[in-house]
């Protein structure tokens, strides 16, 4: 199993080209029979008479690195996955752009799908990242994650 630590923060949005390239890179891993992907997108929420135009993400990097290591160890222990990739944006991500990319792969579909879902929940609960929603009028509010 591949458990190599990789850079998991991306400056700005995660580009569709990066996601496509990530999929392409797995074509040589022919033991894989299923991929499950989650893409988190910045929503243009309405705030009173204002609209969210972007989210600015910050982190506590030293804690994030150890937390991501723990998340990966947990997921590999729980699920029969071949590989797992998690990328989270830092900095400004405009509404409509991708801010979280989770990519789980396994020989059969169930493990990939469950690991992908588990990874998203772990990231939202445990990864020390904060989102500041910026509105069209230049105001901001701190994002609060919903339970599901």
């Amino acid at each position: 199993m591949q458990k190599k630590e990789k850079t998991f923060f991306v400056n700005g949005p995660v580009s569709p080209a990066f996601i496509a390239d990530s999929i392409q890179k797995h074509s040589s891993k022919t033991g894989i029979g299923a991929h499950s992907l989650f893409l988190g997108q910045v929503r243009a929420d309405v705030v009173g008479e204002d609209v969210v135009t972007a989210i600015e993400y910050t982190t506590y990097e030293a804690l994030a690195i150890t937390t991501m290591h723990t998340i990966r160890e947990t997921l590999f222990a729980r699920h029969a996955i071949t590989c797992l990739h998690i990328y989270h944006s830092l900095g400004l991500v405009p509404a409509g752009e991708i801010c979280l990319f989770v990519f789980a792969s396994s020989p059969h579909r169930k493990a990939a799908m469950e690991a992908c879902n588990d990874a998203v929940e772990q990231v939202k609960q445990l990864l020390p990242v904060w989102g500041r929603e910026i509105t069209g009028n230049g105001h901001y509010q701190w994002k609060e994650n919903q339970p599901v």
Partner: protein, 78 residues
């Protein structure tokens, strides 16, 4: 004597207390919470965890000399 404590804040706590808080020598995290609330009364309405040397702590913890302390409001990634 306890050494001065270096505190860094994150998320919405930064807007209340600033990014870096110079603090006197404080023996443990319970005393730190009390001191912070005296300095920044608005923190009383906030939920936050304390990390000591990059580890989130859940019970009163001694602050070792030169500890790196962080105040962490609820995470909101993704």
């Amino acid at each position: 004597m306890y050494m001065n404590t270096r505190i860094t804040t994150y998320g919405k706590i930064t807007g209340i207390a600033g990014q870096n808080i110079p603090a006197p020598g404080i023996p443990d995290t319970d005393a730190l919470r009390t001191w912070l609330q005296q300095q920044f009364p608005a923190l009383a309405q906030q939920t936050y965890h304390i990390a000591v040397n990059h580890i989130v702590i859940y019970a009163n913890t001694t602050l070792p000399a030169g500890a790196v302390v962080a105040l962490l409001p609820p995470f909101s990634g993704g």
